[in-house]
Amino acid sequence: MSFDKRAFWLDMLTKRELPKAAAFVGFELIEFNEDEAWIKAAFFLPPEATNPGGDAQGGFISAMLDEVMSIAGSIAQDGPAMAPTLQMTTSYIRPVPVGVRLIGRGECVRRGRSGIFTRGELTSADGKLLAQATASCIPRPMDW
């Protein structure tokens, strides 16, 4: 039986209970393309992510980007898979507010046999770039 990649990821990202970390940052799938290995999702940070300045603490911004980038790195592989992050760099371009809808996009830049490179962007609902990131991860097929 051949693996239906689109059906598998649609089920993972919309039908199953969300992983706790994804639920914390208010992950909600907008769209994805399994052939081009990218994903777009909405996020909503809870007040618990607020820093002393009243905006989102940087790590939680990295957490949202890690979510879409890891999914892009997973989708880029042939079967059911994960993409554990080895290293990630985040640039905090503008303050990120909590309690508003944010848009994250992650894509696979290169899928190698032993290494995967991804990048991600976080924008406001009106399209302003708030943060960007790049990461390297490793392909890891999963039994499902």
Partner: protein, 151 residues
């Protein structure tokens, strides 16, 4: 540096000031953060964390971004303390290497400042699991800014 504007307090006093603070930002409580050590001369601190299970990825381990959140918390606090609570330092860029899995529960982070200049600060931090194994390491750059809320 503006740390001459206010008299310095001892490491113990600085530690107590943070531990007894009623004005903790929400992110500190979310991460279960507790400042454990302050060494002002070395511009170094250690923080203990109690990571809630709500930060788990599908494998049950802590999602990488939340490890970055602990590292960021420690590096940012390090600048606040090194400036004698006169400055904060919004992070410009941060790079994290994830060496091992970390399960929800106890963790600790050591952070130090490599250079605190007028227009830029350079920090690094390491996250350890309860067995003392290195879980993640980060470096970051930030812009020091006068901080009015806490002073």
């Amino acid at each position: 540096m503006s740390d001459t504007e206010k008299p310095r307090v001892s490491d113990a006093e600085m530690l107590a000031r943070f531990q007894n603070s009623k004005k903790r930002p929400p992110c500190s409580d979310t991460l279960g953060m507790r400042l454990a050590e302050v060494e002002q001369d070395k511009m170094r601190i250690r923080m203990d964390f109690d990571v809630p299970p709500s930060f788990a990825n599908p494998t049950g381990a802590v999602q990488g971004g939340f490890i970055s959140a602990m590292l960021d918390e420690a590096m940012s606090t390090c600048v606040i303390i090194a400036s004698n609570i006169t400055m904060t330092a919004p992070t410009l860029e941060m790079k994290t290497s994830f060496l091992r899995r970390l399960m929800p529960g106890k963790a600790s982070v050591e952070a130090r400042i490599l250079r605190l200049g007028k227009s830029a600060a350079f920090m690094e931090a390491e996250c350890f699991d309860p067995d003392g194994k290195l879980v993640a390491k980060a470096t970051a750059t930030a812009i020091p800014m006068l901080f009015k809320r806490l002073s």
